[in-house]
Structure formats: C-alpha cells, structure tokens
C-alpha cells in the first residue's frame, strides 16, 4: 500500500530524514512517535508530496509520489491528510468545507456532494453543525470536520499529523474516538502523535524516530513494554 525506500530529506543544510524505509500494508495502523524536531511530521508531509525528497522514493499503491508534479494530485485524492492546525477554510460552513473538494476535484454533482458531506459529518458526530462556520466550532469540532473533509474523498490511506496537539485536553478524547473508530473500520493509517495511550490501544505497529532515522520499530506492545533503544527508553519514561 505505502512504501518508503531510503528516503532522505534536507532543509538547506539540515539533514532531517536520513534514510527512512517503511512498508505499510492495507488496513494497518502505524503510529510514529519521537521527540519534537525528530522528523516525524516531515515523513507524513513527504508521503503526501507537500515536501520534495532528495533521495530515495515513496510509492502509494505502486504510484511514485513526486512533489510538485502534476501526477501527485491523483495520489493526493487517494491520501487523506489531517493537520495539527485543522486548516479548515474559514469562509465555508462545515458542510461546505467537506463538500468543496468533492465538487471541484471529484466533480460530483452538488446534490450528491452535499449528501456525502452530511453523511461524513454525521459519522464524526456533527450533524447539528452542518451550517456552522469554523469560527463557531470548538477545536475538537473543527478537527472532526477536517477528518470528515479528508474522509469524504474516500481515501485509501489517512495521514494524521499530531492532530490533537493543538487541542484543549478535554477535547482530545472526541477526536481520538473518531480515529479509533476509523482504525477499527479497517482504514490504513499513519499517525504521528504524542498520545501514547492512543498509540497503545490502536496501533498495530509503532515506529520511534530519532534524529531523522527509525531508531526502533516493532509491534506496539513490544515497543512499549520492552524497548531496546536507549533513546526510546528515556523518551517513553519522559512521556509516561
């Protein structure tokens, strides 16, 4: 489904990804953990072609991801991305946020786009907020709209980039709940998060990124209960 092979990324002189290789199978939930600045988010951004890579390659369903290419748009239609800062469109209602890309990218007729949007917003528990503008929604609600917006495109793969980090603690649960439902429904997901409880509950596999490299990788329980890497041990201790 998703493959990264020896991916390197530089920001100017800064070598942020130093040879990341990763395979994610259909239906698998992979959680990426690591300290701030370790390169976790950059991995997701490269998978979606938001950042070009300088060495190695990335494929989604066998299609090579190349940032700034025309072709990358086709891949993005199949890959949902949820951001830390929600990034809803401020002058569109919740419903319009979800239906916009359905109309202009997927070319669905307006009535159908509307229907899908309502369905998706119902799924994330926001049927009563269809006509609300983002500034009238809480952070948790905004993030759920963002998830609905990505899901409406019917992606094969969902990328979550620290989606609860900007939320008040009491709003984190509602977003994680939606993500857990999604994982249980069989969605292929790559999740960057600091929510270790969520990682343990939902992940099939956990990756620990340290200084741009995969320092440890394994089944969830093994990574949390018997970490091999010294940095991972201190990281887990500092978080728990």
């Amino acid at each position: 489904m998703l493959r990264l092979e020896d991916v390197h990324k530089w920001f100017g002189n800064l070598h942020v990804l130093k040879g990341i290789s990763l395979t994610v199978s259909r239906g698998e939930v992979v959680v990426i953990i690591g300290r701030s600045g370790s390169g976790k988010s950059t991995i997701l951004r490269c998978i979606n072609g938001l950042e070009p890579i300088q060495r190695g390659w990335i494929t989604v369903d066998g299609e090579v991801v190349e940032a700034h290419s025309r072709h990358v748009r086709k891949i993005r239609e199949e890959v949902g991305f949820v951001f830390q800062s929600f990034n809803l469109f401020p002058y569109y209602t919740a419903r319009e946020n979800v239906s916009l890309a359905l109309k202009i990218v997927k070319k669905l007729p307006p009535a159908q786009a509307r229907e899908v949007a309502e369905e998706m917003l119902a799924w994330v528990g926001l049927s009563d907020k269809l006509e609300a503008y983002p500034d009238r929604l809480s952070g948790g609600q905004q993030q759920r709209v963002a998830i609905a917006r990505a899901l409406a495109m019917n992606p094969k793969l969902m990328l979550f980039d620290e989606v609860t980090s900007a939320l008040d603690p009491e709003l984190v649960g509602e977003v994680l709940k939606v993500m857990q439902d999604l994982a249980e429904g069989g969605m292929t997901m790559v999740v960057v998060t600091h929510e270790m409880g969520f990682a343990r509950r939902v992940a099939d596999r956990v990756l620990f990124i340290h200084e741009g490299q995969i320092a440890e990788e394994g089944p969830t329980e093994q990574v949390f209960t018997a970490p091999q890497n010294e940095n991972l041990r201190t990281f887990i201790q500092s978080i728990l």
Binding site: N48, R76, R149
Partner: protein
C-alpha cells in the same frame, strides 16, 4: 449679492459636472483595466517556483510605482511622439493610468495572497486541488476581504490622480475648475466647489467599502 457670484452661472456648474464625469470615467476605466493587470502581477509575484516571472513583475512594479504618474503621462504622450509614435490623447492618458493602477493594485493583490496561511494551501493541495482551484476557492475568499480597505484607499488616490490628465489637454474636474476660475475670477468659490465634488465622489466610495467590509466580516 457679493460681487464674486456675479459672473458665475449655472452653465459654469454644468461645465464642472461635465469635468467630474470625465474624472469618473477615467477612473472607472483605469481601475477596472488596472485590476486585470494587477491580478496578473499579483499572481506572478507570488509564483514561488517561477523566478523569472517574479523578477519581471517586480521590476514592473518598481518602475511604475517609483516614478511620478505625471511623468508617465508625459512620456506616453509627448515622449513617444518625439519617437514618431503619436498616441491618441485618450490612449496616452489611459495607458499610464492603467499601468500605474496595475503596479499599486498588484502589490495589494500580492499582499492579499501572501496573507493566506500556508496551512490553507496545504489543506487544498492535500485534497487534490489544482493551483487554479486553490486560488479561486480557497485563497480568493480570504484575500479579497484583506484587499478591500487598501484598494479603496488606492481608488480614492486614483480619483484625485486623474487630475493629471490635464497635461495632455483633458478637461477633467480640476482642469474644468481652472478654466472657469480663469474666466470668472471666482477662484475660491470654484475650487471649493471642485473640492466638494471630489469629496462627493470619494465619500460614497469609503462608505460603500465600510459596509462591504462589515458584511464580509461576518465569518472571519
């Protein structure tokens, strides 16, 4: 009746209003055509991956913003005619006004586009939108709102700036006032009237922009 009113008839007022009409027409023409230029300039200047376009647009802006409009009109009319290119008066005034507007408004468009947070772009990209779709559906709704106040500010400047059309013999509002004051000697009265007419054109513009801002702000 004080003496200064004697030589001043309704015909003179009519003449002023005619001048005002020329001012408004020049302005409307320069602003609408200039906006098209500005859009192109704004898009070029924000084309992050197309350096040459950025450079060309940047040079254009610097030249037309950095030189007096009066000089631009002069060159278009007299300068080019020395080179054997005789532009009709209307063109000699219109072209500099349009290009001048394009330069100023181009910067306003650029500022509007650049004010859009990166996350908005990325959200659009990640949904598979094209550059054009992103501009039209994601960037424009926010950018236009940001652009309104400075645009009206420029438009008001432009209304006054069209008075420079007199150098090629256009009888717009200021020139009309000058002509009447020469024939009637009611200088104070005439120019007070001229000022009032300018104000009468500009104030509604400001009001309209304020109302538009309030209306659009509802979901900021």
């Amino acid at each position: 009746m004080p003496e200064i009113f004697i030589a001043f008839s309704y015909k003179d007022v009519l003449f002023l209003l005619q001048g005002a009409l020329v001012t408004v027409a020049l302005c409307a023409m320069a602003f609408s055509c200039g906006l098209v230029v500005a859009l192109a300039i704004g898009l070029m200047r924000t084309a992050r991956r197309l350096r040459p376009l950025q450079w060309v647009a940047g040079a254009y802006v610097e030249v037309f913003r950095g030189t007096p409009l009066l000089m631009q009109i002069f060159i278009a009319y007299f300068g080019l005619s020395i080179l054997g290119l005789n532009l009709p008066r209307f063109v000699a005034v219109s072209v500099p006004l349009i290009l001048f507007t394009g330069a100023f408004m181009g910067e306003i468009v650029r500022a509007g586009i650049e004010a859009i947070p990166r996350g908005q772009w990325e959200a659009g990209w990640s949904l598979g939108m094209t550059y054009g779709q992103l501009m039209r559906y994601v960037v424009a709704p926010t950018a236009v709102r940001i652009m309104i106040p400075p645009s009206v500010g420029f438009l008001v400047q432009l209304v006054k700036g069209t008075s420079l059309a007199y150098v090629v013999g256009y009888v717009e509002l200021t020139r009309a006032g000058y002509i009447i004051s020469q024939s009637t000697y009611a200088t104070m009265l005439v120019f007070t009237l001229v000022g009032a007419i300018y104000f009468g054109i500009n104030y509604p513009l400001s009001l309209a922009s304020q109302r538009l801002e309030v209306r659009l702000k509802r979901h900021a």
